[in-house]
Symmetry: C2
Subunit: 518 residues, 2 copies
């Protein structure tokens, strides 16, 4: 009976319990974790579960090798050359995603049988055609819950959306991924409203940070961050309007890339709010365990002419930019209004030293446009719907707001922006864009390096301002999070000039790398 | 005394008279037209003045050759190889622009002495460096009044803007043109508010159609259309938010190209209304006397990395698209809600026959998304400013609205769009974009050919709906006007099923060519 246990993760409503039971029922008995492990899983537990997949005995040594030792780029090559079959790879990633789910509640919908069938098709395709279907042939890719897959619910964790029709069409980017040979085996968890850095809703419950369960997995692509970090998928596809790809990346120690809007098709998703709003545009983009894999997904999609699939996608071909041996980088150590904690400061300084030693030209900036000012302006753009549609969706579902939403959006309660004010904030945005543009052009920067957050992953519901991520959405700049260094209690002594951050033991520090021309 | 005559063009206000006198004072005596010609010039005259430049005796045969016989591409080559000097070319185009001005009132500001100095610099540069400054070396280019040039007023024809400071910086696209070797010798006239298809304001007066003075020059880049048609410049730079490049092109028989927004930098202009509005974006683009020259200007600017100059310009490199020997073209003969007049129908049918005979695959469409529906939706996007800033600018200048503005915008008076309605129209726009996109993708069209207007240029203040141009702004598709065929009273017999259009004798018929990937 032990392996029918569910982790003690929030079950606020009967819907949550039912959905979690349903998810569990789709996990074969032989993939279920033993009771002694599951009993340690809870939202208040301080343990790391990162080593459970490789130590629990469910995976053999080849399966551990397949999931842990290779980038997607290398794995695709091994599948294409017959070292591993698509079936073998799909089975082990399904298994590992199921393990991640039991430990962290990172998934919403699972498509394990469909993934196995797909893998068999791909193996046959490879034999019949002597070449892979595309550059992602056989790679198990996870996608955020909002992407529509024919026949699979897209509830976004809303109670109300359970009554909505199941999608009858794939989102354009799903069609593209399949045309490139990908296997989509799971959809991943999101925050209620999608507008929070805490992946928690009343339908699927809360997603936990695998390096410390009591800490946040970030959001809104929090399920992606966890699934990729635990290697339940080789690459994940998220979305980002204020940091929703980059925040889960920094919380879970993955790489994450937010392209400019409408490079990777964003269309045809289920919408967490009202469609048709003006202003800051969301981007779709990858999370992965290497920069190489971010590039693989981005390049593969762009080279598939996404503008043929999505009427909003920009018809901009992939740019083959010659690799430079020496980059010119701006370095913003912190926005004085939002000082960073010791492990972040140390990680950035270490990165600075190493980049300089490697022959790059890194310019420490004492004057620069304020990321926080640009990020703050985003809030006005998010608050333009006079109907407050997301609140109505929550009310009509008869569900409460999760704490992260109440904290972020109602404290203080911000006024909605009307059309007159919209002109003003839009003009302000153009001015800020001009300021950042001027810095990039005058300084001839290839990229600017800055923190992605003030600290490492905090405890649940404690994520603070998104000032170091949302500014890139306002500017519509491409921006990536690169995991670098790990917090260290001895090295990262409290700095008396820095406010006291929640979370004394920090898990991973992160630098962020923003480039103007991605 | 005869050559101090001013054409009898609207002088609604004392400001107009003063501005026109000022413009005339900048035209050297030897470039002034004789009284017998000027006396025939008036807003009610039915004459064509197209042959005046070559017959008035002011230009010698070489000067006629330079201005009439070459595309910009060929002329640039002749300058680069020393066949003509930049000085020679600049002098004759200044002269010819001055003649056009006396006949049609197409200019706002003239920079003849500066153009001559610039030409001398370019000639020296060519000698010193043995190569031209750039692909536009020595080409005299006219620009619409809204583009800012350091030290030159940008009034847009508003009485109020006379009191505004003269620009201290060039618009980014002006800097780019100069860096490519262009000579900017004149700015050209625009309608009050820039939102009309009739180039008429109370500061500079009305611009006349050189093929029939009593007829409209179109707008809003009407001064450009006339200046280019009369070869007062070799290429012109206009802007387009509902057809403002394409309408003057079709009225004056030039080629015109509206790229997608923010390909050619639009930033740093004087604004005719309130800045910061959401919605349909205006484009900057060329008018010229050949498709080759549209391409020259577009390619030259894109290859100059405009995104280094304007923070809003899209960082999309020039696309080298292989020339196809056979195109697949959609052909929309007319929107049934807006039937076309006989010369337009004949021109399009003739084009269809010729393209088919030349081996292109042309598909006559019986079902297609409605251009008029898309164009009508534009109107809601234009009407979002609750402050009605353009009306206030007119009122504060103490000037009346010109007839074209009263006719277009106040009959009927449309309500402003608030934020709630904005969500609805934005959603509708996405649906229409998806419809057009579906047609292009499913039909695999390289381009779609359709009328640019229901008729040839009408009488002043009689231009009707812009449904065949504005739809491309709503969709943000690139769109070009290609002049083709000339109206013929014998061939273009009235069609009893077509409403009676103003203007019995038509001057030029025009097809429009809209491509999805420009």
């Amino acid at each position: 009976m032990a392996n029918n246990l569910r982790p003690k993760i929030d079950t606020t409503t009967s819907s949550t319990a039912a959905k979690q039971a349903d998810a569990l029922s789709k996990i074969p008995q032989e993939w279920r974790l033993p009771a002694d492990i599951l009993q340690k899983v809870s939202v208040t537990s301080d343990i790391s579960v990162m080593d459970v997949p490789s130590t629990c005995g469910i995976l053999d040594s080849t399966e551990i090798e397949i999931t842990e030792n290779y980038t997607a780029t290398v794995l695709a090559n091994k599948i294409a050359t017959g070292v591993f079959s698509s079936l073998q790879v799909a089975q082990v990633f399904c298994k590992r995603a199921a393990i991640a789910q039991q430990l962290t509640n990172c998934l919403t919908e699972t498509m394990f049988p469909e993934a196995i069938e797909r893998a068999k098709f791909l193996d046959k395709y490879l034999i019949d055609n002597g070449k892979p279907l595309g550059p992602l042939h056989g790679l198990p890719i996870s996608v955020k819950d909002g992407f529509n897959i024919k026949g699979v619910p897209s509830t976004l964790g809303y109670i109300l959306f359970q009554s909505y029709p199941v999608p009858e069409e794939n989102s354009p980017v799903i069609d593209i991924l399949l045309s490139l040979g990908a296997i989509i085996h799971v959809k991943t968890n999101v925050p209620q409203t999608m507008m929070a850095a805490e992946t928690h809703n009343n339908l699927f419950g809360r997603t936990l940070n695998p390096r410390r369960l009591s800490h946040t997995a970030g959001g809104s692509s929090g399920g992606e961050g966890v699934c990729v970090a635990m290697r339940g998928s080789i690459i994940g596809l998220g979305t980002d309007i204020a940091g929703s790809i980059r925040i889960p990346s920094l919380c879970n120690g993955t790489y994450g890339f937010k392209p400019s809007a409408n490079r990777i098709p964003y269309g045809g998703q289920s919408s967490s709010g009202r469609k048709g709003g003006p202003g800051v545009k969301a981007s779709a983009g990858p999370l992965a365990n290497s920069a190489e894999d971010l590039h693989l997904l981005f390049k593969s999609i762009i080279c598939a002419d996404p503008w043929q699939h999505d009427s909003a996608a920009i018809a901009m071909p992939y740019k083959n930019i010659a690799r430079k041996t020496s980059l010119r980088l701006g370095f913003i150590a912190e926005d004085p209004a939002h000082p960073v904690a010791p492990p972040i400061a140390r990680a950035l300084e270490t990165a600075f030293q190493r980049l300089a030693a490697a022959g790059h030209e890194v310019v420490k900036m004492s004057e620069f446009p304020s990321p926080a000012e640009a990020a703050n302006l985003c809030w006005s753009f998010y608050l333009t719907d006079p109907q407050n549609t997301t609140s109505k969706i929550i009310e009509q579902g008869g569900e409460p707001k999760v704490p992260a939403i109440s904290l972020t959006w109602e404290n203080p309660k911000l006024p909605n922006v009307d059309m007159d004010e919209y002109y003003n904030i839009n003009t302000k945005r153009r001015e800020l864009k001009a300021e950042w543009h001027k810095m990039f052009v005058e300084q001839k920067f290839d990229a600017v390096m800055l923190p992605a957050y003030m600290d490492t992953a905090p405890a649940h519901d404690k994520y603070g301002t998104v000032c170091y991520t949302a500014f890139a959405n306002l500017l519509d700049y491409p921006a990536a999070v690169i995991p670098f260094e790990v917090a260290n209690q001895e090295k990262d002594l409290p700095n008396p000039t820095v406010p006291n951050f929640p979370g004394n033991v920090r898990l991973c520090s992160t630098g962020s790398d923003t480039t103007k021309n991605g």
